[in-house]
């Protein structure tokens, strides 16, 4: 009995995800089909990329509100380059470079000028979004017609497609790309010195510095990685729509914070981590999809989503508080 209780406590988030998954499988027609699941996956690639970026910054002990700006700027640079007639790979490179430069600016302001993380990333968020509006003359979308080639492939290319009885099963190239980035990120965080240093820098910056961890370098790199991941997300976003819609990034910003922290509830010490975040992204995708299939009105979806995330986080907090009080009582 004790053991079951312990397992239940350890895996609250996973159990909640399973309950939701099972609930939708039974109640929503067409939820548990291969074609639906692969559709959900394919739609999650952008959120996944933005969340990876956010994950690095959260581990470094900060937050990055400017992910919304780097997402938008990445898309903007890509579209402008394509319009100017540059080949797609060059456009992608420039877009990712823009994200990296944005991360450098953020880390310069935070580490060298010592402005607080919130104020810096808020400021750069505003500046980035304005640049998007200035370039598009007040926020009119830019439509691209028939670009084809690699530009279309990165967002819409399919790796595998087959007709099954429930519908078309497709696996998009974009989700493979996002998962590869996630695997690299996981490797970086868990198996390299950089990853360990980053966790140390986020946990106790002063202590890490005294222990000889190059804190500033690690944190700066986290912001650069965040910028690069988000601009890659922006590239995929524009490719999917074959158009560029300015100031669209805020949609992903708060969701990314949500997925990262849902992920951190799956770590036994509550650290942000990539596998947990993947589950968080999947949770957001499946929830939206399931509620849509059930025919829940769009207005109610926000309410349900907020309540469910609140419930997961509250259960996790309750578990941690109890664990803490048990330790205290033993003393």
């Amino acid at each position: 009995m004790e053991k079951i209780k312990k397992v239940l406590y350890e895996y609250t988030t996973v159990i909640m995800l399973l309950i939701i998954f099972i609930f939708f499988s039974f109640s929503a027609d067409g939820f548990l089909t291969l074609s639906n699941i692969t559709t959900v996956l394919s739609q999650s690639s952008v959120l996944l990329l933005v969340s990876i970026g956010m994950c690095f910054v959260v581990i470094s002990g900060g937050t990055d509100l400017s992910v919304a700006a780097t997402y938008g700027l990445g898309g903007m640079v890509t579209v402008l380059c394509i319009q100017a007639g540059l080949p797609a790979p060059a456009a992608f490179l420039l877009a990712v470079l823009t994200g990296a430069i944005y991360g450098l600016i953020n880390s310069f302001l935070i580490l060298k000028v010592h402005i607080t993380v919130w104020l810096t990333t808020l400021g750069t968020l505003f500046i980035g979004e304005s640049i998007e509006k200035i370039v598009t003359k007040g926020g009119t979308p830019i439509y691209l017609s028939k670009v084809g080639g690699l530009f279309d492939y990165i967002g819409m290319g399919t790796l595998y497609s087959s007709q099954s009885e429930s519908g078309v099963v497709t696996i998009k190239f974009s989700i493979l790309l996002a998962i590869i980035v996630a695997l690299i990120a996981d490797f970086l965080l868990r198996k390299t010195v950089f990853g360990r240093n980053l966790y140390a820098a986020g946990l106790q910056r002063g202590a890490a510095k005294l222990a000889g961890v190059p804190v500033d370098k690690c944190v700066a790199l986290a912001f650069v990685i965040s910028g690069m991941c988000c601009s890659l997300g922006g590239i995929i976003g524009t490719s999917v729509l074959s158009s560029y819609i300015p100031v669209n990034g805020r949609y992903y910003l708060l969701d990314a914070i949500g997925t990262v922290f849902i992920g951190s509830t799956m770590h036994n010490r509550g650290f942000a981590n990539i596998p947990g975040m993947l589950a968080g992204v999947l949770f957001f995708g499946l929830l939206t999809n399931g509620l849509n299939l059930l025919g829940v009105h769009f207005y109610w979806q926000n309410v349900v989503r907020g309540l469910l995330i609140l419930l997961i986080l509250a259960m996790d907090a309750y578990r941690r508080n109890r664990a803490l009080s048990v330790v205290k009582n033993k003393k």
Binding site: T116, L119, L254, N302, G306, I309, L310
Partner: protein, 324 residues
């Protein structure tokens, strides 16, 4: 000896460097557009800053009591959604023929309940405020759409138009409400023991607890106060626009956070504070108003605003570090 005489001067410069930057911007605008310093325009700036300022006071209180840890520190992302929901409740009640005061009463109850849930999760469940309030924000965004059916709700009431249009002593009542609320919140946080307790908790929660402060109660009260202030600003939105556009809260969220963090520039210890937030709101109001006056396209305004604010903060922070 020499050292002793020099230090006060430089520390004074640093203490007021935020104000100096503010003054510089005002002088710049006055040179470009002399109308800028017209009493009429000044009262207009106060009017434009009122909604932003009043919500920001609530968030500033939470910042002060929550400490300045990047992730675990106090924050409330649901505050502008709370404001929008309050405004929606009042508008819908008015349209259904209820009295304005009844609507305000209901909005107050709902808003306090939201503040109480936030406070319970933060204080009792010890959840991270950032996450609690993100979830609350999702919920309230949905609630707002449910109440308004995602349509613009007109709100006509004699009292509301009185607040927005009637002038007392050269300024609309709404501008005076801003000033009065600022004064009250200032008194609460800067000359009551309550304010000291909130700052103490923000500085070091354990020390505050050890010295006998009821930490849970006081942290919870900052969330409740933020709820009340959100209702006041919601009413001001209705009064100024005589309608409610759904989604107004989402648009304002980052502005409110900016103003509340910007308040730190106006303080000696570089921490969020009430007078700083007041000047921060006016600073943002001055920038918006001034740029419109010298005919800068609206989409440039945010970029210039963001850059100016970052530059101001950089200069202040760097100077401060040089002296310390």
């Amino acid at each position: 000896m020499d050292n002793k005489e020099k230090r006060p001067l430089s520390s004074i410069v640093i203490q007021y460097s935020g104000y100096i930057a503010f003054l510089g911007v005002v002088i710049l605008f006055t040179m470009k557009a002399p109308v800028f310093l017209n009493p009429k325009n000044i009262s207009n700036i106060f009017l434009q800053s009122s909604v932003l300022g009043i919500v920001s006071f609530g968030l500033t209180g939470i910042f002060i009591g929550g400490g300045d840890h990047v992730i675990r520190g106090g924050t409330d992302l649901s505050i502008t959604s709370n404001m929008a929901v309050s405004a929606a409740i009042v508008a819908v009640m008015l349209n259904n023929g209820y009295h304005l005061l009844l609507g305000i009463g209901l909005a107050l109850i709902v808003s306090l309940a939201i503040g109480a849930i936030n406070a319970f999760a933060v204080v009792k469940l010890k959840m991270i405020p950032l996450l609690v309030t993100i979830c609350m924000m999702y919920i309230l965004q949905g609630v707002e759409k449910l109440i308004t059916n995602n349509k613009v709700i007109p709100a006509n009431s004699a009292i509301l138009s009185f607040i927005a249009n009637e002038e007392i002593l050269f300024a609309p009542i709404a501008a005076w409400i801003f000033v009065i609320v600022a004064l009250l919140v200032y008194l609460l946080y800067n000359s009551c023991s309550y304010g000291n307790h909130v700052s103490a908790i923000g500085g070091n929660e354990l020390a505050a607890r050890a010295s006998g402060i009821n930490v849970s109660l006081i942290v919870a009260s900052t969330y409740l106060l933020a709820g009340v202030l959100a209702v006041i600003s919601g009413i001001l939105i209705l009064a100024r626009l005589s309608s409610l556009t759904p989604g107004v809260g989402d648009l304002m969220l980052f502005d409110v956070m900016l103003v509340s963090y910007l308040g730190a520039v106006f303080s000696k210890r570089f921490r969020p504070n009430i007078p700083g937030t007041f000047f921060g709101a006016l600073f943002v109001g001055v920038l918006t108003n001034g740029f419109t006056m010298i005919n800068v396209p609206s989409y440039w305004v945010y970029a210039i605003k963001g850059a100016l604010i970052l530059i101001t903060v950089s200069i202040t922070t760097m100077q401060r570090r040089r002296v310390l």
